[in-house]
């Protein structure tokens, strides 16, 4: 962004006008020691927990340990220039970040500073990063869906607005891919997305940004990046930063989706900070409050009722509920879900999408393990038509899993078992989906209907996806009105059923796959 000279002087004039000349009373302390980003400060007798402290050189820190004679502070950013004896000032504010619409389409660091080279972010509003989650009275149950655009997930593990659904799996199982598809699929739905990248390579973050830009999904997305090269403190606060940005939309009666990629690394960063602050280590050397670290974060993802929205907006928004849906990601080591952090987050969230490397390697992508994945509240939010048609999918796959071991004796099996195995194989095949190609509700319904009604049974397993692609193309060109109707209402009436049946029957006659 280019600033012309008049703009600059105007800016300065405005700032001087608003400049507060009142005497500055504050509390000061002196730096006693600096080590690995942790500073001990003597003095600061009235510092608050989580308060922003100002160091020389426009550097800020966050007070984390308040002890009798000293305050333990983590430096947010570089700490090389801070030395013993430096003066530290209290700011009287809990750590705050900018929030608002202006952040959409931008990449920011954990403090909300832009890092995408697109100039200053014009947002006057700020919000503290640590807030108490909405209370019981303010909440409403989850009953609207968030379409992730992935057949296997929307059909079997539905996610509702305000839900917390964990994406868990080993490295290289497509966790981020699901998240990115989810963001892309929110285009045009009004759901704002926040992608929080914690401890990732900068190149991976750049890739995500590029992919989102390619698919036109950056306009409704904020990316909060605390890459691996940033200090542990920044990685630790990044999820809270993103959450505050999401809450801005929730509290205005809008819907937002936040992805924490991933919380394992945040727990590592917090462990580092805690150990350096000399807090006693517990299991796996995590501090005692690592559960609270994640529970207080995920509890903020919620759906709030219209009354609360009205109260929070001062009456400007009426009759609209707000929601913040969270998709935290946890990386397991060797599929071990019983490690400390995975069990914690599994117990906090409203269900999990379990990804397996064996499935991924055998070509089933998204590598969702349908048996272990659950959604505890999403069922109530699922689109009616998907709920109706997808119900059978889960059953087909469950039966198939039981019988899959016998698949090699196909010739010796009775008719019904063989049929079940064949159905299972086809449904498994149908659940595969390419990356960056989320599907609409209508497309999913058609695919699921075809599977349920046995249209796939006569098709070779390796042709199933071709069949599906051709079917979608056909439906789009010949029955676009029907598809639009399904997308608009999401209902499954007899009439729609009849129309789909005839359409697919007509398509079957063409043999064009």
């Amino acid at each position: 962004m280019q600033l012309n000279p008049s703009e600059i002087s105007d800016l300065i004039k405005k700032k001087i006008e608003n400049f507060d000349l009142s005497s500055e009373a504050h509390t000061e302390g002196t730096v006693v020691s600096v080590s690995d980003g942790i500073v001990r400060v003597h003095g600061l007798s009235d510092a608050m927990q989580g308060e922003m402290l100002e160091f020389p050189g426009n550097t800020f820190g966050m007070a984390l340990n308040l002890e009798r004679d000293s305050v333990g502070v983590v430096i947010l950013g570089s700490y090389q220039h801070i030395s013993e004896g430096d003066t530290v000032k209290c700011t009287g504010r809990i750590l705050e970040v900018p929030v608002g619409e202006a952040l959409l389409g931008r990449v920011v660091d954990a403090l909300g500073n832009p890092i995408d080279g697109k100039g200053v972010i014009d947002s006057s509003e700020t919000s503290p990063i640590e807030k108490i989650a909405p209370g019981v009275i303010a909440r409403q149950s989850v009953d609207q869906p968030v379409q992730l655009g992935l057949k296997s997930i929307d059909a079997m593990i539905p996610v509702g607005r305000g839900q917390r659904e964990l994406i868990i799996g080993d490295r290289q199982t497509g966790k981020t891919a699901i998240a990115i598809d989810a963001i892309i699929n929110q285009k045009g739905t009004g759901i704002k997305c926040i992608y929080v990248a914690i401890g990732q390579k900068r190149s991976s973050i750049a890739n995500v940004v590029r992919k989102l830009e390619e698919h036109g999904a950056m306009e409704h997305t904020i990316i909060v990046a605390a890459s691996a090269s940033e200090s542990a403190a920044m990685q630790f606060i990044a999820p809270y930063t993103g959450c505050s940005m999401g809450e801005f939309f929730r509290d205005r009666g809008e819907d937002a989706l936040i992805i924490y990629d991933d919380l394992t690394k945040q727990a590592w960063a917090y462990r580092q900070v805690s150990l350096l602050l000399r807090r006693p280590p517990g299991r796996e050397a995590y501090p005692g409050d690592v559960f609270y670290l994640h529970s207080r974060l995920l509890e903020r993802a919620s759906r709030i009722n219209a009354d609360e929205v009205e109260k929070l907006t001062g009456g400007r928004v009426k009759g609209k509920t707000g929601s913040l849906t969270a998709l935290p990601i946890i990386e397991t080591q060797g599929g071990d879900v019983s490690a400390f952090v995975p069990t914690n987050v599994i117990s906090i969230t409203d269900g999990q999408i379990f990804l397996e490397s064996s499935l991924f390697n055998s070509g089933i992508r998204p590598a969702v393990n349908a048996g272990l994945s659950v959604s505890r509240v999403g069922g109530a939010a699922q689109t009616k038509i998907i709920k109706k048609l997808g119900g059978g999918t889960r059953l087909d796959l469950a039966q198939y899993r039981e019988l899959a071991a016998f698949a090699q004796f196909a010739s010796d099996l009775d008719e019904s078992t063989r049929k079940q195995i064949e159905r299972g194989q086809r449904v498994t095949e149908l659940m595969k989906q390419n990356q960056y190609s989320p599907m609409s509700v209508a497309q999913m319904s058609v695919s699921l209907y075809a599977a349920n009604e046995g249209f796939l049974d006569g098709i070779e397993v390796n042709k199933v996806l071709d069949f599906e692609a051709a079917l979608h193309l056909y439906m789009k060109s010949e029955h676009s009105e029907l598809m639009e109707r399904i997308n608009a209402t999401g209902d499954f009436s007899n009439e729609i059923k009849q129309d789909m049946q005839t359409a697919i029957e007509n398509f079957m006659k063409s043999h064009s796959w």
Binding site: F19, A25, E28, R40, D46
Partner: protein, 177 residues
């Protein structure tokens, strides 16, 4: 510094309690000031750090130096410090003692930095205002510092009230960045 305070706290509070009992806080304050001055002296501290000098010799030396200023209890205190190997804490103990004393007597030490010298009257006025603001009696110590350009900078313990031109310029610099 913080760890030293933790170690020094029991000594300081013990000394203060004893001083209060005997009603000799002023004397103790002087004693501790003298001791800390002696022990902070470069030569003395080098000597004490020398492993060849035994505890007894060191104690004898210090007691000799402090003789005139230190009474029975004072020398007992010094012996205790030597015995526990805590001689180096003496200045921290002195500082803590002074805080306890100030707390007890209900005043704060205030350091006022000004750009221009106060007139006596202005000084009294200012002291009265400060006492009201801090709601405590104050012991004012005025320092002259031209680099403030104008105004005053008040420092009372951790609290800093910056009404200097320099402070405002710095604040403005930050805002305009």
């Amino acid at each position: 510094m913080s760890e030293l305070a933790t170690l020094a706290r029991p000594y300081a509070s013990a000394v203060f309690k004893r001083a209060k009992e005997t009603g000799s806080t002023e004397q103790w304050s002087e004693r501790l000031a003298f001791m800390s001055a002696v022990l902070n002296d470069g030569d003395i501290s080098t000597l004490l750090d020398n492993p060849k000098v035994s505890k007894q010799d060191a104690l004898g030396l210090i007691l000799d130096i402090c003789q005139e200023y230190v009474d029975e209890e004072g020398s007992n205190f010094l012996k205790l410090l030597v015995h526990n190997n805590r001689l180096t804490l003496i200045s921290t103990i002195f500082n803590l003692f002074e805080t306890y004393k100030a707390d007890h007597e209900g005043y704060v030490d205030v350091e006022v930095t000004t750009a221009y010298e106060f007139s006596e009257e202005a000084k009294l006025n200012f002291a009265a205002t400060l006492e009201k603001t801090l709601s405590k009696k104050i012991h004012m110590n005025v320092i002259l510092d031209k680099s403030l350009i104008g105004g005053v900078l008040v420092r009372a313990g951790d609290r800093v009230i910056d009404r200097s031109i320099r402070g405002q310029l710095q604040h403005m610099q930050k805002t305009l960045q």
